[in-house]
């Protein structure tokens, strides 16, 4: 085959163009997201905190041997912010609050990425099976989901974490066990909705296999609400994780915002506000940032937004 089209003009190689098409679509979407100032604010916050997590070893001297353990300065207990060497003060046990805030962003990131990643995959798989297969399989899977949903998230996670014993890994595990149900529900509903579209029939009409239809026609069109929910949950999970840590379900001494708030709370009554406030502020900002981004994504990905329809 000659490299010319019908009119005889030379054609470009497809790979480049396909990429360009993707970029164009991506650019359109990005433009839509960036046109909303609150979303941009959320993004800035997220990038700020991601930067903090990324550059943690350069921002503060990493503690040895385990940088995720708070360094203890036994010579400087309960110092207020502004103390030389401890710009945000220290805790009751001499932990540097700034160190906790910075390395805590790594812990939180780890928590939310692992939990959201695992639960989205499990939820998508189970929701897809339920939605695609339907019938009895759907019925059984959804009743299991109902059982999980009947118990409040926080209490359920608390119970599991308490059974497994206090450690940060167990918090991650318990949140994974609790959070997948929500995604399974969303995914199932979406799949059933998308399945009714004519283009799914059209794909069947051209002889596509079921798996191919699922991956090319159904999943990409069903994923939007899941993406939005996952983004919102990036913030919510840190909140719940911090709650569990605060209650004391993670090992003490770890650089984690919830633990720090918990450690500092005893001192608030006696005026030592800093040990709880700064990590608490970080939790707040983290949750806020992902909520803003999630809302922005929801608006931008909504098919009813005019520029895409």
């Amino acid at each position: 085959m000659a490299n010319t089209n019908i009119e005889g003009a030379p054609i470009r190689r497809r790979q480049d163009s396909a990429l360009r098409v993707r970029l164009r679509r991506g650019g359109e979407l990005l433009g839509l997201i960036l046109s909303n100032p609150t979303t941009v604010f959320g993004l800035i916050l997220i990038f700020g905190m991601l930067g903090m997590a990324l550059f943690a070893p350069w921002l503060t001297q990493a503690n040895t041997p385990d940088p995720y353990q708070m360094p203890r300065d036994w010579g400087a207990l309960r110092m207020p912010p502004g103390t030389p060497g401890h710009p945000l003060g220290t805790t009751n046990t001499g932990g540097d609050v700034l160190y906790g805030v910075i390395w805590g962003s790594r812990t939180s990131l780890q928590l939310s990425i692992v939990v959201v990643g695992v639960t989205v995959v499990i939820g998508t798989a189970i929701g897809s099976i339920a939605g695609m297969v339907g019938g009895k399989v759907d019925e059984i899977l959804m009743r299991i989901v109902d059982v999980f949903l009947s118990i409040p998230e926080l209490i359920f996670a608390l119970a599991i974490a308490a059974i497994l014993g206090p450690s940060f890994t167990n918090i991650i595990l318990s949140l994974c066990l609790v959070f997948w149900v929500k995604y399974a529900r969303i995914m199932r509903a979406q799949i059933i909705l998308v399945k009714q579209n004519d283009y799914v029939d059209a794909a069947r009409v051209i002889g596509d296999s079921r798996l191919n239809i699922y991956f090319r026609d159904i999943l990409p069109n069903a994923a939007t609400p899941l993406v939005v929910q996952a983004t919102l949950d990036m913030g919510a999970i840190v909140l719940i994780g911090a709650t569990l840590s605060f209650i004391g379900l993670s090992e003490s001494g770890i650089a984690e915002w919830g633990v720090l708030v918990s450690e500092g709370q005893a001192g608030i009554a006696s005026g030592r506000w800093w040990a709880s406030t700064f990590p608490g502020l970080m939790i707040f900002l983290w949750a806020l940032a992902f909520n803003l981004l999630g809302d922005g994504l929801r608006d931008a990905l909504d098919p009813r937004t005019e520029s895409r329809r």
Binding site: M1, N3, N5, I6, I11, R13, R14, Q15, S17, A18, R20, V21, R25, G135, N197, D198, Y199, D201, A202, A203, R204, V205, I206, G207, D208, S209, N212, R216, D217, P220, N221, P303, R308, R309
Partner: protein
């Protein structure tokens, strides 16, 4: 009805007159009120190369009938309650290589010889010597081979029938990847006898069965990458040619756009390109122009007509627009409440309608001479199809109803050659259908 038991003797040269025949098709739907008999004993033939119009009111079962050809029914709640859809797939004529000769009657294609009797005529092929498949019974795998390749469908709303997340080219390409991967490899200069990882990977890439390793190898390993690109180029050429055939300007650009960037008419052209991509024997057009402007509608109809004439495909044109049907169809089947009530040549149906329903339907079409404010309508509405009684379905609304109509069910029988009506007015002693089970 002209059932084609034709030419048992000369089966090897003469194409059978029918490409598909529907017999006693019953599709029911389970509902809370009971079984809905959406399609309840439909009989008709589709002749080779013709356009058959399937007309009727909303809910009369015309779309369900069309979809039964591709087994596109939601199987619960739908139930295939009985009947058969016989289909005779065709292959390109060996005598002329698709150019059209005396052997194939100029259409360039002939029926596939029956695998059991090799074209001699046997019970399997109903004595025609052509491979005859019951579309309701073939395996899922075989069905997938037929879909898009031998039978294609054009949907009502092209805006909904295109996946919004894929480019036009990606969606059109799928047809070729599914059914024409061998040709793609050949066009890309890849020897069919070649073995080894490269050839295997290329074969999988061209058949849309690629694995992650294949894709990675095709991206990173220069020799494979080059060849994969030539396959992709062959695919692109095919897509562009298919689009070009539907008179889309600048197909290479359209290929790279998303459905929402195209107008309704353009999208329908894309759908037509997709349907016609593999030269199907039968095209099911389910109200392809209802979602379009009248001006675009005419052009799309012309386009379907031209492409059909060029390929000799048969078309089942499902519509409620009688003026369109009159313009483009060779024969018309009028459906009412899950039954074909009248079938015949377009002229016979429009100039000499026999069934009271057909007459009512034709009278309801406003013409330029219809006085303002006066539109004829058939009194009453389509009956509930839940567990119907064994009576003429139209009895409730018929002006000429008499005792026989409520007592039993008329079946289609000939009033003129090629013109069948199911009505006791035409056949006072019409044979009665067996009571519904």
């Amino acid at each position: 009805m002209s059932i084609s038991k034709t030419d048992t003797t000369g089966a090897q040269t003469v194409a059978p007159a029918t490409i598909a025949s529907v017999r006693g098709l019953k599709v029911h739907f389970r509902s809370k009120a009971g079984r809905v008999h959406a399609v309840d004993g439909v009989d008709f033939d589709v002749r080779d190369g013709e356009t058959l119009g399937l007309v009727g009111e909303t809910g009369c079962g015309k779309s369900v009938t069309g979809r039964a050809f591709l087994r596109l029914l939601p199987v619960p709640p739908g139930i295939l309650a009985g009947g058969s859809v016989m289909f005779r797939p065709q292959t390109s004529c060996g005598g002329c290589g698709g150019e059209g000769c005396a052997q194939c009657g100029g259409s360039g294609r002939r029926p596939t010889p029956c695998p059991t009797c090799r074209g001699q005529g046997c019970p399997d092929c109903q004595g025609t010597g052509a491979e005859t498949l019951d579309l309701l019974k073939v395996s899922d795998k075989q069905m997938r081979g037929i879909r898009g390749d031998r039978i294609a469908m054009i949907f009502q709303d092209p805006g909904k029938a295109l996946n919004p997340t894929l480019t036009i080219g990606e969606q059109l390409g799928e047809v070729f990847l599914q059914h024409r991967s061998v040709d793609l490899l050949e066009e890309a200069g890849i020897d069919s006898g070649e073995s080894g990882f490269q050839a295997g990977a290329l074969r999988r890439l061209a058949g849309q069965r690629d694995r992650r390793t294949d894709r990675m190898a095709a991206a990173l390993w220069p020799p494979l990458r080059r060849r994969a690109q030539s396959v992709r180029q062959a695919l692109d050429n095919r897509i562009a040619a298919a689009l070009g055939e539907t008179q889309i300007p600048n197909p290479r650009n359209i290929m790279r756009s998303y459905p929402h960037e195209l107008s309704g008419g353009m999208r329908q052209r894309v759908m037509i390109a997709q349907a016609l991509a593999c030269d199907p024997d039968l095209i099911i057009a389910d109200e392809p122009t209802t979602a379009l402007d009248v001006t675009v509608q005419a052009r799309i109809l012309d386009l379907i007509g031209q492409l059909q004439a060029k390929r000799g495909s048969s078309v089942i044109y499902i519509s409620h627009d009688l003026s369109v049907v009159r313009r483009i169809c060779d024969r018309v089947a009028v459906m009412y409440a899950g039954r074909v009530v009248e079938i015949g040549e377009t002229d016979q149906i429009f100039n000499d309608p026999r069934h009271p329903y057909t007459k009512g339907l034709l009278a309801a079409v406003p013409t330029t001479r219809t006085p303002r404010g006066k539109l004829a309508a058939i009194p009453g509405s389509v009956p509930e199809l839940v567990d119907p009684k064994p009576s003429c379905r139209f009895a409730d609304r018929c002006a000429q109803v008499h005792a026989a109509c409520t007592a039993s069910d008329p079946i289609l029988s000939a009033v003129n050659p090629g013109h069948d009506v199911a009505c006791f007015l035409e056949h006072p002693t019409s044979p009665k259908t067996e009571a519904a089970e």
